[in-house]
Every structure is written in structure tokens, then in C-alpha cells.
Symmetry: C2
Subunit: 295 residues, 2 copies
């Protein structure tokens, strides 16, 4: 199973890379596209696209729509990193092993590139060539907009901003991450489901799976921030502790945080087991991948 | 006609204000909604919403969808002002007679509020209550995303950024404004049309009308930057000249710029006359309003 999953993952990562390369063009005014491509291409685990594609494939969804949805989610993720790295936010200079976008292109261009990447995400979901049926396009836009906005990712970032130096307890920390990273990871699974005819019970199980994956992802992130070095991470290690930000490790300790991540992965597996989906193997595999990632 | 138009305009501006007040809620994490509401409410001419509503009403479009589209366009406009005012862009402290969002809430919150407003625009277009038919929602998202992104507003901003201190000629200036402000103004007209059954010839005429309105709007803006004071404008007057940015006035002189605006308004009228639309009076009225605005 794991061998198959690794092969599937590499093949799909490459396909996502090709699609992003084609859709995020440099054919834009004033080199804006260069900054956008720099932000998006050549790096990243592509976890969100993989979740979209796996969910769609497990359900026999529309392949063309799924690839568009996969890339749209990744563009939202990429834009959030660009803006999050800016001096007025986390002020970070290293991302995926490269200088951050504002270091390379200047703050103004980074701001614009992030803005344009968010718009491009919705462009990808609404092609005018008929490749995504209207009802599917509307549903995909609905899921993505809600996951990206004030009730999702952006809202989570706002909590994060307000929580530096504040003694958040675990429920508050969890509420923050449920929005900041969880909403988009869960939306990835649900957008995959939206490319197929999916029953309400299956959608509910996948929403549960997505929520567990999202939480586990963040706990592992906090663990890696302590245990891995910057080169392995491709970003500055130890920065949460340096910024006096609350993390699962600072609240629970390292061992308990790792155990909590494992528990969430277990819950994700059980959500799939109870979903009634005939062949959810890819999603099981991605859950394990999230649990054992090293960067 | 003008008396009727003024009454229609005031009524619709009030309706847009009420809708924005309801849809841009403060019920978000960490006061993000407060910054979003500050950016959006209580100010602005609402030209873009008025164009959406007028276009929809002229064509007998879906009223509920038109109000959502009107507010969605305004949210994109509002987010672009928030980001454009930030220190790394135009570094402006006054907007609509109030301190700009980053002055009031800090740069990080301004950045996030802008990001969340863009997402909210697409949320408004894709309600889950069936009030916007799927095909219409998909079409509205398609138009808005393209007008907002690298091939529209954001691309125009990038040209603007690259053009400070550069001797742009008039065609280059026009190409910049066609994207920076023109794309969203034109999209407003076309989104109104998308709320109705509109034939290709009518769409083409409205696209022409919208392009002329967009250009005239920018020329008038450049004229007002020279002739009006900050209090009337509600923003810092004379800032284009101070920033050594090319404008229609700096390229053509004041009188020729005013004459060019009038010419564009005349072309907008003629586009409507040739459109075959039975009662385009509201759109004629808005064209005149754009031509004679004082702030």
C-alpha cells in the first residue's frame, strides 16, 4: 500500500506541478507573473492538491475539475504564505529554502502577487471552456471562498496575530488552527468530493476526516518546529518559540503533542472506515503521510 | 431624467449600504471584521455597485443576484484601496476623509482585512440558499476573478508600481488604467448583464460602454487630483504629481484631459444608443454622473 501511495503521490505531485506551471503564467503586466510563479512553483509538498485529487479519485470525480480545484487550493495556500512572510506579519526571509517573495521582489510586488494569486484561484475554478460544469464551479467557489476568508484561513491568521505573547489555552489554540490551516485542508477534501456525485453521509465523513487531518498537520508542524532544523524544513526553524507564540508543544510538551497527532491520524482513519466509501485507500495513505512527515 | 436618476441613485446607494452592513459582519475572529467594516462602510460613491444594479435593471435581471454582485464588486474595490494605501504601496494616510485602515488598525490587520474582503466577494456570489442560480454564480465569479486578477486590476497596479518616475506615453498610460480601474468598472456593467438573459450583441455594446466609462472615470480622477482639494476628495489631493506619476493631465494638459473625458462619455452614450436596449436611461444617467463628478 505504502509503495503504491508513494508512486501515486509522486505522479500526482508532478501533474500538479505541470498544471501550475501552465496556469500561473509569466504573461502578465510588469513582471507580476514572475513573482506569482516564484511564489508557487518549484517547492512545497502539495498536500492540499493531493487531498483534492485523492478525494476526487476515491469518489470517481471529474478529473479536469479536480486538477483545477487542486491548483486553486494551492494558490490560496501560496498567497497566504507570501502575505504571512511579509515584514508587517511574520517578517520571514526564508521559505521552502528560498528567499521569501518580498525579499526577492520587494514588498509592493509581493502584496500584489498574493492578491493576484487569490483571484487566479477563482479564475481556475471558472474556465469558460465548459470543462467544469456550472453547478460544480459554483460549489467549488463557495467552498474555497469560505475556507479562505474571515470565517476560515484569514480569520485564523487574525487570531494568530492577536495571540502573540498571549497565554492561549489548548481549546483556543485549537480554534485558531481549525481556521488558520484546518479550514483549507478540510476544504481540499470537500472540493475533491464536490467534483463527484457525493452523498450527504459521505460528505460528512470526509469533513470529519479533513478536520482530523488538518489538526494533525498543525500539531506535527509544531513538533517539527522544535525537532527539525531550518535546512530540512526549508523555512526558519524554532521561530514560533522565538516569537513567543503558543504551540501544541509549548502547551502539551513534545511527547504528548506527538501522541495527540497520532490520535488525530487514527481518528481520520476511523472516519474513512465509517464512511461507506468502497475504496478510500488513497485517503488512508495521505493520512499516514501527514502523520509521519519530516518537513 | 437627471432628477429621476438622482433619486434612483440615492435609493440604490442606501440599499447597497444596508446590504454591505448586513454582509460584512463584525462576527469574525479577533476583530478582523471591524477592520473589514471600517474599510467598506460609510463612504464611497458606490459607482461600481450602481453600474451593476443599473445594468441589471435595464435588462430586467435577477434583483437578489444583482445586489450580491454589486456588493461583491465593491468589496474587491475596497480591498484594493486598503492594500494600495499601505506603506509599501502608496503609503497614504487619508481615505474617504478617514485615517486609512493600516493607520487605524495596523498594517498586519489591514493586510488580512483586504485578503478577507477579496474572499468575501466570492462568498457573496455563491450563497447556499439558491438565491443565485448556479450558472449565474459561476459566470459572476468568472467575470469578477478575471477583472480582479493579474489580467485586470492587480496587473494594472503592477504597471502603476513600475511606472513611477518613468516617462509613460499616453497609450501606455491608457493600457495601465484599462486594467487598474477600467477592468473592474467594465466588469460591473457585465456582471449586471450576467444577472439577466443578455444577447451577445447587447453584451458587446455594454462592454464598450463599460470600457468608455472606465477610461472617463480615470481621466476625471486625474483632473480632480489637480483641481480639487483634499477635503472635497476625501483623500490626499495632488499626490500623483507629488509621486511623479504620469497622469492624463501631465501628459495632455488640463483642458485636453477634460475634453478627452467628455469624448469618452459621448462614446459611452453612443454605445448604448447602438445597443438595441429598449430603456438604457439609467446607464445614460450614470455616464453623465461619471463625467461631471466633483470628488
Amino acid at each position: 500500500m505504502v509503495a503504491d501511495l508513494d508512486a501515486w503521490r509522486r505522479e500526482r505531485q508532478a501533474a500538479v506541478e505541470r498544471a501550475l506551471d501552465a496556469w500561473v503564467t509569466s504573461d502578465t503586466p510588469a513582471a507580476l507573473g514572475e513573482a506569482m510563479r516564484y511564489a508557487v512553483l518549484d517547492g512545497g509538498k502539495r498536500l492540499r492538491p493531493l487531498l483534492v485529487l485523492a478525494s476526487s479519485e476515491v469518489l470517481g470525480g471529474n478529473r479536469a475539475a479536480a486538477m483545477r480545484a487542486a491548483c486553486a487550493v494551492e494558490l490560496i495556500h501560496a498567497y497566504s504564505l507570501v502575505h504571512d512572510d511579509m515584514p508587517c506579519m511574520d517578517d520571514d526571509v526564508l521559505r521552502r529554502g528560498k528567499p521569501t517573495v518580498h525579499v526577492r521582489f520587494g514588498q509592493a510586488q509581493a502584496l500584489l502577487a498574493g492578491d493576484a494569486l487569490q483571484a487566479l484561484a477563482f479564475e481556475l475554478l471558472t474556465p469558460d471552456d465548459g470543462s467544469v460544469p456550472d453547478a460544480m464551479a459554483a460549489h467549488l467557489c463557495r467552498l474555497l471562498a469560505r475556507a479562505a476568508g474571515a470565517g476560515g484561513m484569514a480569520g485564523g491568521q487574525a487570531i494568530d496575530l492577536a495571540s502573540v505573547g498571549v497565554a492561549l489555552d489548548q481549546p483556543s489554540l485549537e480554534a485558531m488552527h481549525r481556521l488558520k490551516t484546518g479550514a483549507l485542508l478540510q476544504a481540499s477534501v470537500l472540493m475533491g468530493a464536490a467534483t463527484a456525485q457525493t452523498g450527504a453521509a459521505e460528505v460528512a465523513a470526509l469533513a470529519d476526516y479533513g478536520a482530523c487531518i488538518g489538526l494533525a498537520f498543525q500539531v506535527v508542524d509544531d513538533v517539527l518546529d522544535v525537532t527539525a532544523d531550518s535546512q530540512t524544513l526549508g523555512k526558519t526553524a524554532g521561530k514560533d518559540a522565538a516569537a513567543d507564540k503558543p504551540t501544541y508543544v509549548s502547551l502539551m510538551g513534545l511527547d504528548a503533542a506527538q501522541a495527540y497527532a497520532d490520535e488525530m491520524i487514527g481518528r481520520a482513519h476511523r472516519a474513512l472506515d465509517g464512511s461507506g466509501l468502497p475504496s478510500p485507500g488513497l485517503l488512508h495513505g495521505l493520512a499516514d503521510w501527514v502523520g509521519r512527515r519530516s518537513h
